[in-house]
């Protein structure tokens, strides 16, 4: 086989090479400028955030040894050598974990009901009027952007310490987040059934009930379950501001340096979050699986 690689004449090659080099140089310049701008932003940010590498390196040993300490019992033994001593407060913690789960359940359900009531007004294709849509959208946006724990701080003052403030904070945040997602599902729904129902002389309410709802309910359930998962994590820190759940116990353990308690509570939280993640994942798979089979 005698094939030769054809080589272009030098002149032609030179112009091509030139063009290539120029293109590459332009790209490199762009990348360099972007990197320089980013590094400058980082530098300013480092000044703004009081980054002190000296502190960091002096105390980094503390961070590592912190984990050493939380994994050591008062008696000096490693925690896993004596699980009974490690989880001495398991009964109390499980009760508080149950409370955390209840907070997120009640909060998610309330939020989902409100989001359900509001989302038809927020979606472009079903909203009765542009003014209603605008107002509802802004309300949902505020409920979504203000972090749940800020609501909790305010509610603790209005409703008093306790899980009620946590539930309401989670409910409001969930309304904002789910309202937007629900409205997006509705916007993707097929509008032909609505026309069909309207042509029979039905009211707006009947249109929503019989034309839109059957299309979107599985999506709603899936998003609500996903939100429940997120809310379990959120509810686990609501106790930091006095709004109930396991967070209260954790913050006391961290602040008062009850080292082995910190690790025990963290382990129970992580395991619970894992279990909730897996079971809601399974449930969502079943819900959607059923939908596609129909």
């Amino acid at each position: 086989m005698a094939t030769a690689i054809s080589i272009l004449p030098a002149q032609q090659l030179a112009t091509l090479n030139d063009a290539y080099r120029k293109a590459v140089a332009r790209k490199r310049l762009k990348a360099t400028v972007a990197a320089a701008v980013f590094c400058a932003a980082l530098f300013i940010a480092a000044l703004g955030a009081d980054v002190n590498l000296h502190t960091f390196f002096t105390y980094f040993g503390n961070f590592v040894s912190y984990f050493d300490r939380i994994l050591t019992l008062d008696s000096g033994a490693r925690v896993w050598t004596d699980p009974v001593e490690w989880f001495w407060g398991l009964k109390k913690w499980l009760r508080l974990l149950g409370e955390t789960l209840l907070i997120s359940y009640v909060g998610t359900l309330t939020g989902a009901v409100f989001a359900f009531a509001l989302n038809f007004f927020a979606a472009q294709n079903t909203s009765p009027g542009p003014w209603v849509r605008f107002t509802v959208r802004r309300l949902l946006e505020i409920a979504r952007t203000v972090p749940g724990i800020v609501f909790a701080l305010i509610f603790v003052i209005a409703f008093g310490l306790g899980p009620m403030a946590g539930v309401l904070a989670i409910a409001i945040h969930t309304t904002g987040a789910l309202g937007k997602l629900f409205a997006e599902i509705v916007e993707n729904a097929d509008m032909k059934p609505v026309e069909g129902i309207r042509s029979t002389g039905a009211s707006w309410l009947s249109c929503m009930r019989f034309a839109i709802l059957p299309q979107v309910s599985a999506g709603y359930a899936s998003y609500a379950l996903l939100r429940f998962e997120v809310n379990v994590r959120e509810a686990s820190v609501m106790g930091f501001v006095g709004a109930g759940g396991i967070g209260q116990e954790l913050v006391v353990a961290i602040r008062k340096f009850y080292y082995s308690d910190v690790s025990a509570i963290l382990v129970t939280i992580i395991v619970t979050v894992f279990i909730i993640d897996i079971s809601t994942g399974w449930l969502r798979g079943r819900l959607f699986g059923k939908e596609t089979r129909r």
């Binding site: 980094f60 912190y66 907070i103 009640v106």
Partner: protein
């Protein structure tokens, strides 16, 4: 006037038994689920100390608080709040960048197409999962114990908690990358590092850049929260003003957060489109 003939129900029943006679389990499933859900809800309300009187008195308190919030007014502390907001944005930017830099090498270890052996990949993945299971606020409390109160603890908290999330997302992006380009590099005689540098990174980097920008955006929110436990930024000011009941300042701070988040959203979505193009929105 001709009338439509009345439907013959009996005949229809005989023709489509599946529609008219669903098994009891299918008919009862939905009501049973609803009843169970409501029962747990009611139990929750009782267990969590909900009472109508508390709800009503709380609502009136809340209404009063809302009245006190209007109009938003920073008083003389406006420069201080702007500085705190800058601090918050700095925390978000630095924390996310550091997390991305740390997570990139680790995500290679967790990707199936780079490390085929389960022996390394499995522990790395579980490690990342555990980090993600712990909330940013908890990490902030831990870091405050280590480096003291202040924004630096916030940076480190965001860094650690995002490290877990990035490790997972990056490794998924790497696993989704096209195999052919890596094979091309190997065919032309490149070693394993060359494969990663020239075959994999050019495919993965735009996706990663998009995700990092998205996280900077969402971390602006997290950075406001971690101030509440003492890790600097605007959250610290917010928590303080709520505790001393300065409602006008509180509403001003909340407005500032809303505007800052909206601005960051806008900028980062523009940048994301510029980097990854219209077709692939993360």
């Amino acid at each position: 006037m001709s009338q439509l003939p009345k439907p013959d129900t009996a005949e229809l029943r005989a023709k489509y038994p599946g529609v008219f006679e669903r098994p009891a389990s299918a008919r009862l499933a939905m009501p049973a689920t609803i009843v169970a859900a409501l029962a747990i809800f009611a139990y929750g309300l009782v267990d969590l100390d909900f009472s109508p009187s508390r709800l009503i008195s709380g609502m009136s308190q809340l209404g009063w608080i809302t009245m006190m919030m209007i109009p938003p007014n920073p008083g003389a502390s406006f420069p201080l709040y702007m500085q705190a907001l800058g601090e918050t944005l700095s925390i978000a930017l630095l924390g996310t960048t550091l997390a991305a830099l740390l997570a990139l090498p680790v995500s290679l270890l967790a990707a199936r197409n780079i490390i085929p052996s389960n022996l390394i990949r499995f522990p790395v993945r579980r490690f990342l999962d555990s980090i993600r299971g712990v909330d940013t606020l908890i990490w902030a409390l831990v870091w405050i114990n280590v480096v003291g109160l202040g924004p630096f603890a916030g940076v480190l908290a965001i860094m650690v908690s995002d490290f877990g999330a990035f490790g997972k997302l990056f490794s998924e992006a790497i696993e989704a990358a096209d195999r052919k380009q890596v094979e091309g590099i190997r065919a032309s005689g490149g070693n394993a590092l060359h494969e990663i540098r020239f075959g994999l990174l050019p495919q993965v980097l735009p996706v990663i850049a998009g995700q990092v920008l998205y996280f900077i955006e969402s971390n602006t929110r997290s950075a406001t929260i971690i101030g509440i436990v003492g890790a600097g930024g605007i959250g610290l000011q917010l928590a303080e003003q709520i505790r001393v009941l300065e409602w006008q300042k509180v509403s001003f701070l909340i407005l500032m957060i809303l505007i800052a988040v909206a601005a960051i959203d806008f900028i980062s979505s523009k940048l994301r489109f510029a980097i990854i193009g219209q077709r692939a929105v993360v």
